[in-house]
Assembly symmetry: C2
Homo-oligomer: 126 residues x 2
Amino acid sequence: MANDTHDAFIYRADCPSRVILDQLGDKWSMMILAVLVVEPHRFNAIKRRLEGVTQRVLTQTLRKLERNGMIGRRVLGGSPPGVEYALTPLGRSLQKPFAVLYEWTLTHIDTIQKHQQAYDRKRKVG
Amino acid sequence: MANDTHDAFIYRADCPSRVILDQLGDKWSMMILAVLVVEPHRFNAIKRRLEGVTQRVLTQTLRKLERNGMIGRRVLGGSPPGVEYALTPLGRSLQKPFAVLYEWTLTHIDTIQKHQQAYDRKRKVG
DNA sequence: CGGTATCCCACATGATACTG
DNA sequence: CAGTATCATGTGGGATACCG
């Protein structure tokens, strides 16, 4: 063995972890999926449930999710006309990983905040 | 029932999903944790395993992970002197959620890319 | 070895106005 | 209703140089 104890595995910026972060790491994607997991929604119905999102950003995010195959877009004929967004099977398959993450977050959110406060106190004093 | 079929739950920008994304949604955090899960590493040992990271950004990211309680920082006396970073129990507790996410990614990465290509073809032609 | 200090730019997001 | 167009801005990240 040369330098390090374990032979080095080099992580590159295009590591598989990026795949999911590039898709869901933005501000609204996960919340959109959380809305659509209940049932399909129209554009403005989604917008009403996301406090503070702008039309522009919502459109962008929906396009990205559609491009990645997470949601489908369907134009509704009839009156009133509209567009409906719904989860695809791929999008639905995210539910389990999300549930695990969500559970972890709820379990540890207090611990995290305590660490942050302790760290900030040390910085302020020291 | 008034407006929507289900009574609305409004998602705000400070949704719990942000907690984890704010900490691990950046470019290098997950890879750093993946390095440290093997064993504690020194600063430059981590740097060598992350292709393309700069000292500045690595320092920033390590500080953030430390502040959030994911990793610990220990100054090594002796020769040569140095600093060692290691996972805390909190950081280690992320292994299971990560494993689930990683498995999902490996399972569906092909499907995602096919969706992306199909979407881009339609855009180019249409 | 393990950092800081500057400078810079690309990109994500937001505000606002307009449209088929 | 469901967008597009335009403009503005904050921040993440990179390049580079210097420091104890």
